[in-house]
Amino acid sequence: MWKKIRPYLYSAPSLIVIGLIILFPILYTGYISLTNMNIYHWFDYTLIGLANYKKALFVFDSGFIPALIRTLLWTMVNMALQVAIAFFIAVLLNTKGLRLKNLYKTFLMFPWAMPAYVSILLWRMGMYNTEFGLLNQLLGKLGLNGVSWLSGSSIAFISCLVVNLWMAFPFMIMTIDGALQSIDQSYYESAELEGAGFFSKMRHITIPSLSPIIMPAVIMTTFTTFKQFDIIYLMTQQKGSNTGANIHTVITYAYEKAFMTNNYGYSSAISIVIFILIIVFTMLTRGVNRKGRKI
């Protein structure tokens, strides 16, 4: 008897907390998404069916679809640059005879180790600030006019991109570095015997053996990038110090609709759409992951 209950007893506290903190908000958000709860209907909100979803998905001007396109662009550009540059750096780290490798690695780890919001605020004030930011000081020394790094939409997008890359490189570099070391050196030796050059070795040995190993980490990072909130919010959209750039991603968009314009019904519908999108992506990538593990 005792033995039968025990497993449930062990997992019950966890499942109760998950039920309260994770599951309840999702169900509640799903319910609110079907109502017109907003600043005018604070307590007397009513069910309005799928109207919020229609507004989000079919009214282009509502801003959700542009935000979604921007988020996809943000994710793709980030991931492409991140993997390509991290790969380049990791390969160089593995140059034969590089004695200071571990020292370099330690320095490269710093952006990962720093608390994310601290890094973001340091970038915002230390680097991008229009008056005393380092970048504009350097431009000033060169006799150039300062740039408002976070004001225009395109430049703000790029500025945020740089910060995200800066924060994300260490994990990707370490992952690729670890994967590089797991490749059997004898492949290279026999390739060298056959007279293969650097690029041929890269293309036929390094990249094919690397991709299955780093794929899980790449997929994980893709989701983190897609869900990235702090950078864009802290850089351009803080309450009271909005820089005027419109670079909403889906998450900051949903956040703004809920907490700045108080349109809870609509924001909830967007949250559910984001949730479904992520689940669909997860399902799709699980196949890739499985295939990767078999190799």
Binding site: P13, V17, I21, I22, I32, P115, M125, M127, G178, K227
Partner: protein, 281 residues
């Protein structure tokens, strides 16, 4: 020196040069903050800025510690972090153990569902959590934040530790059972020591999460006296940063230091602990 050796030498020189530049570039935002924090007055507003502080001073650090409620925030954060880590492990370890060892019907489906649920961005749960915790009187209380933080990290902890428990062979436990040890004894005396690496990584991940979380800390706590370090720092930059950039830098660096130390201490485990946890399944 042969030609090939010479070529190799130049190559290494270039690679080293490349890394020195890259490392510097990567450290600039942090080094700049360090430099500003040790500098007397806002001298970087003048044009003759340099990385090495002209007038070295510790005043900025002193004023963070004594003029701002920094120590109070540190105390709040430490209490929150400690309680959350203890609670997360207390509910996470038995659950992870149970999911790893007991083959209950629907176990794999439940694990998959949990992973799916984890995809919902926490930040979008804020309104619902407010609605839930308000009637319980858990808004503006440590207990409310501890509950939220624990809940947010539970699925990660569960998956991460379950993956590790799976690698501990069950035969070890069988031996304990034959010796007449109770189930609880087996967990405490046999599983705990073996699972130490994953427990440490999980604890540190929870700790870092709590240390760095600011959105809930700001929205669910009112009054600067109740702020955590992250919330306090956020408030500091939101209100008066233009005048207080050196003080902000000093505060940022002090907040980051404990995390930096812990991070580099367990760096190796972090890397493997992170990649293996989310992937196994």
């Amino acid at each position: 020196m042969t030609n090939k050796k010479k070529k190799n030498y130049i190559k290494l020189l270039l690679v080293n040069l490349f890394f020195i530049i890259i490392c510097l570039a990567c450290m600039i935002p942090i080094l700049y903050a360090v430099s500003v924090s040790f500098n007397a007055e806002n001298s970087f507003l003048s044009s003759d800025f340099s990385f090495i502080p002209r007038n070295f001073t510790l005043d900025n650090y002193k004023s963070v510690i004594f003029e701002k409620p920094f120590l109070l925030w540190l105390k709040n954060t430490s209490i929150l972090a400690f309680c959350t880590v203890v609670l997360a492990l207390a509910i996470g370890i038995p659950a992870a153990y149970s999911f790893s060892r007991h083959r209950l019907p629907g176990r794999n489906a439940l694990l998959m569902i949990l992973l799916m649920l984890n995809a919902f961005p926490t930040i979008l749960s804020m309104f619902a959590l407010y609605t839930l915790l308000k009637p319980m009187g858990l808004i503006n209380s440590d207990a409310g934040l501890i509950l939220i933080y624990t809940g947010t990290m539970t699925i990660f902890s569960l998956w991460n530790m379950k993956g590790y428990f799976d690698t501990i062979p069950e035969e070890i436990e069988e031996a304990g059972k034959i010796d007449g040890a109770s189930n609880l004894q087996i967990i405490i005396k046999i599983i705990f020591p073996l699972a130490k690496p994953t427990i440490i990584v999980t604890a540190v991940m929870v700790l870092i999460y709590v240390w760095n979380e600011y959105i809930f800390a700001i929205n669910f706590m009112t009054g600067a006296d109740n702020y955590t370090l992250a919330a306090g720092l956020y408030a500091l930059q939101a209100t008066e940063y233009t005048r207080n950039w050196p003080i902000f830098s000093a505060a940022s660096l002090m907040v980051s230091l404990p995390i930096l130390i812990i991070f580099f201490l367990i760096q190796k485990q972090m890397q493997s602990g992170l990649t293996s946890g989310g992937v196994k399944g």
